[in-house]
């Protein structure tokens, strides 16, 4: 039996298979050097796709755009079944995965392609990461984050709002960038931390204590407004990764974001895309 242990978002995840498991480069810095005896999550990786179909009446969720499907989620007894589609070859099934009712144990089926056995090939990996957060005190966000050694500031918004620009500006100002696109926010011992996650490029695992959240947009001048209450919760939650087909998921998220938005500052930030925004935030948050 071959196994690899990953540490993502402070969670331990053990993958096991009868053959050697390959990982995309971005996962390699997250590999643990030693085997974890009782991992938080397990993933059994199986060569070959199963020859089963799913009834349309069991379809719970579909991620797709006008050009292609990304993945489908079905009810499968007490489990969830995921059908993941290859992003390059339209609608070809890339993985079929099963998740137990406690969201602790995965079984991922995939074929060996070009000699590679890649059970976490995109988008399976981020889907696994999202479901890891669903029954824990954690959430995945579309966001960038800058850390100055004491405070981590998270920047989120619609696609094109400036998350990557903001990362670049804060990096130029000497701050460490936790990530410029996808983060896990997790509550541990009463404190919210931000973690980076494996991306398509290699980066070391990072963790920082979250101090404030900025909902960003481009603006002709820098402006900031503090948000609170229901408005802060809905505005921040809108930029988290969500598969809202089950009301228990939504209720869990509402619990988490209610607590998060009461503990960290939440601000609306219109910014000029130059270095002036860094001092503006430091002077006005």
């Amino acid at each position: 039996m071959n196994s690899i242990c990953l540490a993502i978002g402070g969670f331990s995840i053990r993958l096991s298979a009868d053959r050697k498991i390959q990982l995309e480069d971005g996962y390699l810095p997250f590999v643990e050097n030693q085997n974890v005896e009782n991992p938080d999550f397990t993933i059994r990786c199986v060569e070959h796709l199963p020859s089963i179909g799913f009834d349309a009446s069991d379809l719970l969720f579909q991620a797709e755009n006008e050009f292609q499907k990304f993945y489908s989620i079905y009810r499968n007894g007490n489990q969830l079944a995921f059908v993941i589609y290859n992003q390059q070859t339209n609608n070809e099934v890339q993985q079929v995965a099963f998740l137990d009712e406690n969201f602790k144990h995965w079984t991922i089926h995939c074929e060996v392609t070009d000699g590679l056995f890649l059970p976490l090939r995109y988008p399976m990996g981020p889907i696994v990461m999202h479901y890891i957060t669903l029954k824990t005190n954690a959430v995945m966000m579309h966001a960038s984050c800058a850390y100055d050694g004491k405070k981590a500031r998270l920047f989120t918004g619609f696609s094109g709002a400036g998350k990557s620009t903001m990362s670049m500006l804060w990096s130029k100002a000497g701050r460490q960038i936790i990530n410029d696109d996808r983060l896990i926010v997790r509550k541990q011992d009463g404190v919210f931390f931000v973690y980076n996650t494996p991306m398509y490029y290699k980066d070391i695992p990072k963790k920082a204590p979250l101090s404030s959240i900025f909902l960003i947009s481009h603006s002709p001048e820098n402006r900031i407004k503090k948000l609170s209450g229901a408005m802060s919760i809905t505005r921040v939650m809108a930029f988290s990764i969500q598969n809202n087909f089950d009301r228990r998921f939504i209720e869990g998220r509402l619990d988490l974001f209610t607590e998060l938005c009461s503990q960290v500052g939440v601000y609306e930030l219109g910014f000029v895309p130059d270095e002036s925004v860094v001092n503006f935030v430091l002077d006005n948050e």
């Binding site: 379809l59 719970l60 969720f61 579909q62 991620a63 797709e64 619609f158 209450g229 229901a230 408005m231 919760i233 809905t234 939650m237 809108a238 930029f239 969500q242 598969n243 809202n244 087909f245 089950d246 009301r247 939504i250 209720e251 998220r253 509402l254 209610t258």
Partner: protein
């Protein structure tokens, strides 16, 4: 859309009270509605909570005028606007 129909659509949402406001999140079978959660202010929250089986416009107006000490004409107008907006959002 009738109030009765709006009441039935309520089951497709998860709500959470925060202070005097109500957060409303749609259950969804696709990623398109990820950003479509919204907040109801105090007045809208009372209207939402009173969209019950058998509710009618007259009862809603009475509830609003009793709760907020406003005249019936204003209450009726505000309720109508809110219901139209809600119908448009719930139908997405």
């Amino acid at each position: 859309m009738e109030i009765e129909s709006l009441f039935h659509l309520k089951s497709k949402f998860v709500t959470r009270e925060v202070g005097n406001e109500l957060i409303v999140v749609p259950l969804s079978a696709n990623v398109a509605q990820m950003n479509e959660l919204f907040t109801l202010n105090e007045t809208a929250k009372v209207i939402w909570e009173n969209l019950n089986e058998g509710a009618d416009m007259s009862a809603l107006i009475q509830t609003i005028t009793d709760t907020f000490d406003i005249d019936r004409h204003t209450a009726e107008k505000d309720i109508a606007v809110f219901l139209q907006t809600l119908e448009a959002m719930l139908k997405k």
